[in-house]
């Protein structure tokens, strides 16, 4: 379809499913699940080299750098300074492997270890610094519409509201807020990308996000933590397609009362 391509962060992306690379039991499983999902963009994290010798395997051996655009995140950062440092290191790493994702970053500045909710103040601060350094910034945030607007105003290339806490699998807890965010961020700017990121538990959550009007969905645990990640990845891809098709098909309205589907006339036993 002509408008299938997602334009975000300077890229044109064919798959609106963005999948994380964390929490898989093995690198092989990760590789197969990503392939099954049909995704083009995958997130990665930046961490200290463990410096184990021998056959310490590297994730890069299982991520085809020509097939995937890597999106480094600043996960695990609880203040703006750490997030900015991590983003710079991520860019350096992607430049080292020649992946075209070197230009962008998924910004997460977390407020709290238990909830992993984003710190709005730290997020805005880091966003400002990173934009000034030439990054394209996709900003993880809560489902607070005010914060979403502030992030867009501050230059975020995409705002990514959470459906529910990271890894919680609860789906979209507040669809009304997501709808408000979509309306407000896309007013006069319908192409502005809004990605539901975090909390996806199963395929129907992806469909729900797309039916609400999201431009894409980012998920990790929903696939990696499933009993059968490869199959779940396929389900997520199908769910994405279902959501996109459904929203372009003009759904029926929700009504309080019934409207019969079968004709009312010609029912037997009625006295004419």
């Amino acid at each position: 379809m002509a408008n299938d391509v997602l334009k975000m962060g300077g890229f044109e992306i064919a798959s609106r499913l963005i999948v994380g690379t964390g929490k898989y039991e093995t690198f092989e499983l990760m590789r197969d699940a990503l392939a099954a999902s049909g995704c083009e963009v995958v997130t990665v994290a930046v961490r200290r080299e463990r410096m184990l010798d021998g056959d310490g395997r590297n994730i890069l051996d299982f991520l085809d750098p020509d097939r995937y655009t890597l999106l480094p995140n600043t996960a695990g950062c609880f203040n703006a300074e750490d997030a900015v440092r991590t983003a710079r290191l991520g860019r350096e790493l992607l430049e080292g492997i020649g992946n075209k994702g070197a230009a962008w970053v998924k910004l997460e500045v977390l407020g709290d270890k238990k909830t992993l909710l984003p710190d709005p103040v730290g997020s805005l601060e880091a966003l400002g610094t990173l934009k000034a350094e030439g990054f394209r910034v996709l900003c993880y945030t809560s489902d607070d519409p005010i914060m979403a607007v502030r992030l867009k105003e501050a230059g975020a290339d995409s705002v990514m509201p959470a459906g529910a806490p990271i890894g919680s699998g609860q789906g979209i807890l507040n669809p009304c807020n997501i709808r408000i965010i979509l309306e407000q961020l896309k007013e006069g700017d319908p192409e502005y990308p809004v990605i539901v990121d975090a909390g996806v538990g199963t395929a129907s959550d992806v469909t729900a996000a797309m039916e609400l009007g999201a431009d894409g969905v980012l998920l990790n645990t929903g696939i990696a933590g499933a009993d059968n990640p490869v199959q779940m990845a396929r389900a997520m891809q199908a769910a994405m397609e279902a959501g996109l098709l459904a929203r372009r098909s003009g759904r029926i309205p929700r009504k309080l009362y019934a409207t019969a589907s079968s004709p009312i006339e010609g029912v037997i036993g009625v006295k004419e």
Partner: protein, 66 residues
């Protein structure tokens, strides 16, 4: 001399460069990034960046994440 790498103290040769350290640690230069005292040191500068006593290095790589 003593430096700190990834939060741990380490004895290294005096006037070692970052490039030499990466080699000593058997790391792949294209797969790591290095910060020295909270400043990113670009890969191109590794060969000519000499380390000093008590330098705090972060040597990072890409890992799985969401």
């Amino acid at each position: 001399m003593r430096i700190v790498v990834n939060g741990k103290g380490r004895e290294v040769a005096d006037e070692i460069t970052i490039a030499e350290l990466i080699d000593d640690l058997s790391l792949q230069p294209l797969r790591v990034a290095v910060e020295r005292n909270k400043q990113l040191v670009p890969r191109a500068s590794h060969v000519r960046t000499t380390l000093f006593e008590d330098d705090q290095l972060e040597i990072v790589t890409l890992v799985g994440g969401g």
